[in-house]
Subunit: 360 residues, 2 copies
């Protein structure tokens, strides 16, 4: 129980009645405090690939404490870079599709060919479901133990915006710690897929072959974001169904407008459980990178810009909707607007005037 050694309880236990005069204890505590790494040493350790320093920095990023956040910002500013030898891969799929098994298989394959792999997650519901996603690390037992892998569950947070921001900053830290491949998992609740799509180079949709209409369960907009569909569990008696699903998805993809970067999304099959088809998935991602290299780097630039403007606009909205002077008025006017008693534009003007006054 490594964790207990660092807990507050452990420290208290060490302080006996005669603690104050216990020079040895005081020295030990002082020494422990000194060991809390400085921002500078965290940065240095991250750059040398130290996973503990990386973890600590991500904890600062995820903290709600202002001091921690200021430290986090310093670290981010020092770690941000323009590294081009990294790949950010988004992976989505409904629960039950085998995301954990797939990520473990892909992760192990990658460390096997000499890559360093970080696994992050965007799951805005994780605080409620107490970390269903990646929380149960036993599901990735082999990858967790792999020294070239780093696994971090989804940050908790009430808003998707917050979770997305933290994950995006974690990508910066992971890349600074020399991880080459960043896998970002999402369960696709609400807009989380769009958020993940906005921070990755390659977006992968994991599917299962079922009995009925394969397209039924696909959320609006996902197909247009998808760079490749991977049908998982293509094993045993599923093989025939997988083949049929593959044909249907391929046809479906044809009916979407072509991508700007010229990439034609495809449908692959794999069995994460039996470790089949994993190298083909990676080869496809590599082919994608080769085929779209320039537009990939351009995309990263525009993703950076997108997050700048998105953060600004999110904050402007938060400041408005959290304005005490607005809340009651907004509630009442919304009902009136919905029932066509007041025009939306007139109501908006009234509310903006109240907010403007409040800020002044």
């Amino acid at each position: 129980m490594k964790k207990n050694k660092k807990s507050a309880l452990e420290e208290k236990e060490g302080i006996h009645l005669n603690a104050i005069s216990n020079e040895a204890s005081i020295a030990r505590i002082k020494n422990f405090r000194k060991k809390q790494p400085s921002v500078a040493s965290l940065i240095q350790d991250i750059n040398s690939g130290d996973k503990i320093a990386l973890s600590r920095a991500i904890t600062l990023v995820e903290s709600k404490n202002r001091t921690h956040l200021a430290q986090a910002n310093q670290i981010i500013e020092a770690c941000i870079s323009n590294k081009k030898n990294t790949l950010r891969v988004g992976i989505t799929g409904v629960p039950g599709v085998g995301k954990s098994t797939f990520i473990e298989a892909l992760g192990k394959y990658l460390t096997g060919i000499g890559k360093k792999v970080a696994v992050l997650a965007v799951d805005p519901t994780s605080s409620l479901s107490s970390g269903s996603i990646l929380g149960d690390k036993t599901r990735m037992e082999a990858l967790v133990k792999d020294e070239n892998a780093f696994i971090r569950p989804s940050p908790s947070g009430d808003s998707l915006g917050g979770v997305a921001r933290k994950t995006r900053e974690s990508i910066i830290l992971c890349e600074a710690a020399n991880f080459d491949v960043i896998l970002i998992e999402t369960v696709g609740v609400g807009q989380s897929e769009t958020a993940v799509h906005g921070m990755v180079d390659f977006f992968l949709l994991l599917k299962l072959a079922g009995a009925g209409d394969e397209l039924q369960g696909i959320k609006r907009g996902i197909m247009e974001m998808t760079d490749t569909i991977v049908i998982n569990k293509a094993d045993g008696k599923n093989k025939q169904a997988t083949k049929l699903a593959s044909i249907e998805f391929t046809r479906a993809l044809h009916f979407y407008p072509p991508k700007e970067n010229g990439w034609i999304p495809m449908v692959l099959q794999c069995s994460a459980l039996e470790n089949e088809g994993i190298s083909e998935v990676w080869q496809t991602i590599i082919n994608f990178k080769k085929a779209t290299l320039n537009s990939m780097y351009e995309k990263r630039k525009y993703q950076n810009k997108f997050w700048l403007l998105q953060t600004i606009e999110d904050n402007l909205k938060i400041r408005f909707y959290e304005d005490d002077a607005i809340q009651e008025q907004l509630k009442q006017l919304t009902v009136q607007v919905m029932n066509a008693k007041v025009s939306p534009f007139v109501a908006a003007e009234q509310l903006l005037a109240i907010h403007q006054k409040e800020l002044k």
Copy 2:
């Protein structure tokens, strides 16, 4: 040189030495001013279906003059209602697809069965292209002369938000003036289709049968918004191509997720020029209304709410981006963020702090 007559120079020319003593002129001007209708009389006339009053009110809505806008708001507030016997139909299609001919054919069909039809447009580029859309009213010659039709070109305005707002207020005014069917045309520049989709009950995509891949020219997201695809110019030697295109579009529609209201989009054929298939288009819209009545009224409520929040959020952004203290900083920081010199989140914080200070 019509324009010159209205210029400031021309006016000066008209003021002769004895102008001030010209009692007849003064009386005429005073009389003209008196004739400018009051807000109260405009409201009354709109409600009695007077097209001139309707036109004048829309001109107030489109004005940039503060007094006019205050009057416009008063009129809107008086005209807003919960009428359920109206239908708002959005029509999109690329230039050349025959939108004007189609709208004229549909409009004439509707006035023929006793409906009052208003035709509006959302074309954010119209100020640049000097009203390409609906501007050339000769293209709808028969409809323009129809006393049960009202045609208004797209408001000019630099932003889609502004154009959309004005069109949405015009819908309120047209419905107050007892128009039952509001046709809203868009050329689909940028996000204008999404804006139109957000203000109509039914969204119609007009297409042409061509030689190649019919889906090639379809913009992302349009198919998911479409309630019905109408293939126009299904006449003469186009008939065979139309049939093939119809099959392809029907198949393509199947590959999109089902709509929440249960409506299954379909593909129709028509020849607006030969007046064929127009009644079938209308019958489909009527079927849609019958099949989705409750969700249609619910949708209107949420469209109202959407426009309230959208207007608020647009204005918060405009206030930020037009803040003089922000502009130079934003430009510099955007470049740094794009090139991964500064984190988007840190840059956003800096800019928000500057803006906050400015407002105080």
